[in-house]
């Protein structure tokens, strides 16, 4: 008996698998990834971010912090060369090593300031949105009061006020200038209002939903309803806002440090490396080019990732 061989044409058609037709809806995380993947610039952003993080961490293995802070006025303001690929600064420190350590501090400031900002924003926004009434009124008027004052102005005043009051601290065997903590605190303390308003808006709509009523009917406590039921539902805008917040915090740090009120040397950040570089804009381009470029790259890539996340996590855009 001969088995009829299927013609090559038939074979080239992909057979329909029943499972594929009746596949259950995708889990949320997978759907988000499929949508994120479509965003080419977001993928590029993730790539650049990974490279920068590797640069800052692996660089720290190659150069010691002592080397990054070592100054020799004899070799000040040298253009890029074999020994100093990014050149040296006004007091003869190696710029390559300083961008590595500056990057660590800048990322640290970006991430921790956002953690502080997000925590404050969620707590204040959630309380305001969930409880409403007088609590909402008080918290929102306070939020608006903070929003009215320009953030930069607030930052400069606070930086000036707290500067020098905080001693150096040692974490994991590394000494940080106390000003790092000050900068983290003041960026965190001045950035939360926008997030608080986003969270409040989410809570206002979600607290009226049926599933919250159902949760209350099963005897769920108020903190559980806020943090276990409503908050997970509003995580998308919070994630997006926090991502963009990292870029914002890095820029703000650079801004204050550039004005000389930020992180004090010898601790390097990309921002304070720019401080003083403006007097050499024409004759020592390497002073500002490398830290400037790094700030530009990280802020751009974080913004791309944020845009990608916004599309990926938006429940209204369902198509994959």
């Amino acid at each position: 008996m001969t088995v009829a061989t299927p013609s090559p044409n038939v074979q080239s058609i992909k057979p329909i698998i029943l499972d594929e037709l009746e596949a259950p809806p995708l889990p949320l995380s997978k759907m988000a990834w499929l949508k994120f993947r479509r965003h080419k610039m977001a993928l590029v952003g993730v790539g650049i971010l990974i490279v920068i993080i590797l640069y800052c961490t692996l660089g720290g293995v190659i150069f010691s912090e002592k080397y990054a802070n070592y100054n020799d006025t004899g070799i000040a303001l040298q253009p890029p060369s074999q020994v100093h690929p990014f050149g040296t600064d006004v007091i003869g420190r190696d710029i390559l090593a300083r961008t590595v350590y500056g990057g660590q501090i800048s990322l640290l400031i970006g991430l921790t300031a956002v953690m502080l900002e997000t925590t404050l924003g969620i707590l204040i926004g959630a309380a305001s949105g969930y409880f409403g009434g007088l609590v909402d009124n008080l918290l929102m008027r306070f939020t608006e009061a903070i929003l009215i004052i320009p953030q930069i102005f607030l930052l400069l005043v606070m930086a000036k006020f707290f500067a020098g009051n905080i001693p150096n601290i040692t974490i994991l065997g590394r000494e940080f200038s106390g000003s790092v903590v000050v900068i983290i605190a003041i960026i965190g303390l001045t950035s939360w209002p926008y997030l608080a308003r986003i969270v409040r808006a989410e809570f206002l709509t979600l607290k009226e939903s049926e599933f919250v009523l159902a949760a209350r009917a099963t005897g769920t406590s108020t903190p559980d309803i806020i943090f276990r039921h409503i908050l997970p539902n509003s995580i998308a805008p919070i994630v997006v806002s926090a991502t963009l917040g990292v870029a914002n915090a890095i820029t703000l740090e650079a801004y204050i440090s550039f004005l000389g009120l930020g992180v004090r040397p010898p601790t390097a950040t990309w921002g304070n490396m720019l401080e003083g570089a403006y007097s050499y804009i024409e004759n020592a381009y390497w002073l500002w080019l490398f830290p400037g470029l790094l700030i530009l790259l990280i802020v751009l890539s974080i913004n791309f990732v944020g845009d990608g996340l916004r599309d990926a996590l938006d429940p209204r855009s369902r198509a994959v």
């Binding site: 809806p25 009434g133 049926e210 949760a215 009917a217 099963t218 005897g219 769920t220 406590s221 539902n233």
Partner: protein, 329 residues
């Protein structure tokens, strides 16, 4: 039989910018241990608000429970502290199932997590213990392959399945009483029948006392022992289910019955409806709230609210008229 829940003169209103909405106006009823009570009436007549008041789920403000007592066993639920309500009553003693299963489950939490939550909160179960109980519960409400489905999200379930999950959630902590707020309204007829069968079975198996809110008189006939008919926040008729169907005595109940489709009616005859709309609850009625739509209306109906009176054993109505003669009772 012992009385499990005794509601007396419950009044709930809402303070809105337009004025005070009188949603529940002095409702009294009781539920026996193991009994099934159906509450019927058209939309907006205070059925849900009554039940939500019992569990104190009314948002305050704008809501306000003006007066009344809700005696559950030996405590007045309206006098308990919010903390006691939350930790001892809701979900543990009295559970509630809501109308729309599509929106009553949290979309971002797995079924397993939502099922184990009440166990964790009320009975202080360990995770493995809670997981085991969750699987049992899903089996109890007839969900196939329960172990695998614990990790699924609500959007991976169909409407009927979700309502089963909601019932499983309500039953998690072995409550004594179940309030079902139109649990089958959002489902199609076949699923509706399945859910009703399920509830009947559960009642037999675990001896639940049930309050079933509905506007479907067909459902009532199949399920309840005792029926309350509500209109505009008042109870207008109360009777055993057989009595009510054989001998409805309030004009509103009569009108509701007449509006039911019958298989033996002529095919081209129009379905009867009650003319007009339910009264505006912003205005306190001066007479019987049904007077404007009633076909038996008399002079006294417009000026005096009829009190609820017993007309025969276990059958009471709030009406001035004897619907059999059309004259005053």
């Amino acid at each position: 039989m012992t009385v499990l829940l005794d509601v007396k003169d419950l009044k709930t209103c809402f303070h809105t910018p337009e004025g005070i909405v009188y949603a529940v106006n002095g409702v009294s009823f009781c539920l026996d241990e193991g009994g099934t009570l159906a509450v019927v009436g058209e939309s907006g007549c205070g059925k849900s608000v009554t039940m939500m008041s019992i569990l104190r789920l009314i948002p305050i403000p704008p809501g306000e429970i003006v007066s009344g007592t809700v005696q559950y066993r030996d405590q007045d639920l309206l006098k308990l502290s919010e903390n006691n309500m939350q930790s001892d009553i809701r979900g543990k003693e009295i559970a509630m199932v809501f109308q729309d299963p599509m929106t009553s489950l949290n979309p971002v939490l797995t079924i397993g997590r939502q099922l184990t939550e009440p166990l964790r909160v009320h009975l202080k179960f360990q995770p493995e213990q809670a997981q085991k109980r969750a699987i049992e519960l899903l089996q109890l409400v007839g969900i196939p392959d329960p172990k695998k489905r614990l990790g699924d999200y609500p959007h991976q379930f169909s409407g009927g399945m979700r309502q089963r999950v909601m019932i499983a959630m309500a039953l998690a902590c072995n409550p004594t009483m179940l309030i079902a707020d139109e649990p089958t309204t959002a489902l199609d007829v076949t699923i509706q029948a399945q859910i009703i069968e399920l509830v009947k079975e559960l009642r037999k198996k675990i001896g639940l006392s049930i309050i079933w809110i509905t506007h479907d008189l067909g459902v009532v006939a199949g399920l309840a022992e005792h029926v309350i008919v509500m209109y505009a926040g008042y109870i207008v008729e109360e009777a055993d289910v057989d009595t009510l169907y054989e001998n409805p005595r309030h004009p509103y109940t009569l009108a509701l019955m007449a509006a039911l489709p019958h298989v033996d009616r002529r095919r081209n005859s129009r379905l009867k409806s009650i003319p007009g709309a339910p009264p505006n609850l912003l205005v306190k009625p001066s007479g019987c709230p049904f007077a404007t739509r009633c076909e038996f209306v008399l002079e006294k109906c417009k000026t005096q609210i009829p009190p609820i009176t017993v007309i025969e054993d276990g059958h009471s109505i709030a009406c001035w008229v004897d619907v059999k003669t059309g004259a005053y009772r």
